[in-house]
Structures are given as structure tokens and as C-alpha cells.
Symmetry: C2
Amino acid sequence: MNCGEIAKKPAVAITPDKTIEEAAALMAQHRVGLLVIVDRENPKKPIGVVSERDIIRSIAQKIPPTATVDKVGTMHNFVYVYDHDPITAAAKKMRQHNVRHVVVVDKEGNLYGVISIRDLIGEKQVLEILARDWVPTQE
Amino acid sequence: MNCGEIAKKPAVAITPDKTIEEAAALMAQHRVGLLVIVDRENPKKPIGVVSERDIIRSIAQKIPPTATVDKVGTMHNFVYVYDHDPITAAAKKMRQHNVRHVVVVDKEGNLYGVISIRDLIGEKQVLEILARDWVPTQE
């Protein structure tokens, strides 16, 4: 089973000029914990991510909710996998980077979807694969 | 393996009179996605929870960050397990209630800890148990 197969739902995308408040509204509406920040000129091109955690941190730092998402998200070096990677790659990257989502891209680097940690415990088959092919993060 | 064994780290608690901003700061500081709201008179007694998602929703609804956490958290009917419950109970409740944390209480109902969804994919042994004892949510 590969990452493309498990990332069934389309990613929720946002452009970097949108505000924290708008990001929060999108997360609440779509019930997702991560938005993919995409290029304004090319909505297929992921250029960053903004997570619930990023927004929580912005509140803790008293950054106004009218600030733009590119100020609080992770730009450029976000965590991703390829659609043809095995699902264990997604689980491993989540552990390694201590994140709950990975962006899935196709071989051209275009946005394919998002895998959340929740997707990994939702199905018996997925759990079986993860248990069988489990590798420690410290290697 | 039971819920008490997997909930190793102490829960991060907050009292209901604290603000959303203070809750966000605690979450960011302790790197957790859920705070347990405890009774002001009895810090062992959980009376609710406030999650990252609750805070995101409050921003989307333009609730000021100076509002108290009891206005945005889940009071009273939060999702919990007992420390002696098998870990599959925690996984099942997360799927059933669509949450990423469960509060762990002891048989007196005192706060024991919190299990996050991340704790469930962190160890090979845990994954093996979850895969073996997996039961569909719709039963």
C-alpha cells in the first residue's frame, strides 16, 4: 500500500497572502489540522504548510490573527512523501519530524494530498503493515 | 498492555478560569495538543478538556483570546478511558469520537494522564496489538 492510496481526500490549500484567521476558519470548516500553502500562480505547487500547532504558537506569541499565514507556517522545507512511497515512509517521517501530517506530492512535485496521523490508525490493514514493517526512528 | 502503561507523561492541566491565550502558551511550551481542565479546588479532578482544535475553532469564530477556556473547551462529557483499560479501548474511542486524545483516569476518577494518537504509532509493540485486536468502529 502506498502513500497515494491512503491520501484519499483532496488536500485543503491556502495561498500565502491569506490570514491566520482565514486559515483557522478553513481548518474548522474542513476539519483538518493542516493546510497546504500553494503558489498563487500555480495552485498545484505546494510551497509550505500551516498547521494547527503553528496557529496555537502564534496565539501564544500574541501574533495578531490578521497576520498572513506565510509568517507562521513552515515555508519550503515542509515534510513530504511521494505518492508511490510505501505508507511506512509516512509513519516514519511523522515520528522523525514530530509532526502529524505529511504532504503527498507526485513525481513532478505537484500536490497530490495529505496524510494525517489519523489515517494511519483508521484501518486494520494499515496498522498491520505499519507493525510488520516498523523500523526505529533512530537509525 | 493497558492505557496506564502507555500514558507515561503527566497530563498538562489548566483551571477553567484561565484564558485561551494562556492555554495556547501551555500547549506550545509543553508541545501537547490537549490540556485537561481541572477543578480549581481539586487539581486531581478532570472536569473538561481543551484541544488545539477548540482553540482553532474559537479563532475562526472570532472569540477573543482573553476568553476563558471553559467557554471553548469540552466540559464534563469529554472522552476518557480507565488506566486498566486495554490500549485498544483508547484507539477505538479516538476513532469513534473523532478525537486525537483521550484522558486517562484511575478507578476513583482521578486524573492519571493523557494518551495522544501519536503515542499509538510510536512503538512496534503497540502497533502490533492495535492491528491484532482491531475492531471496526461501526458495531
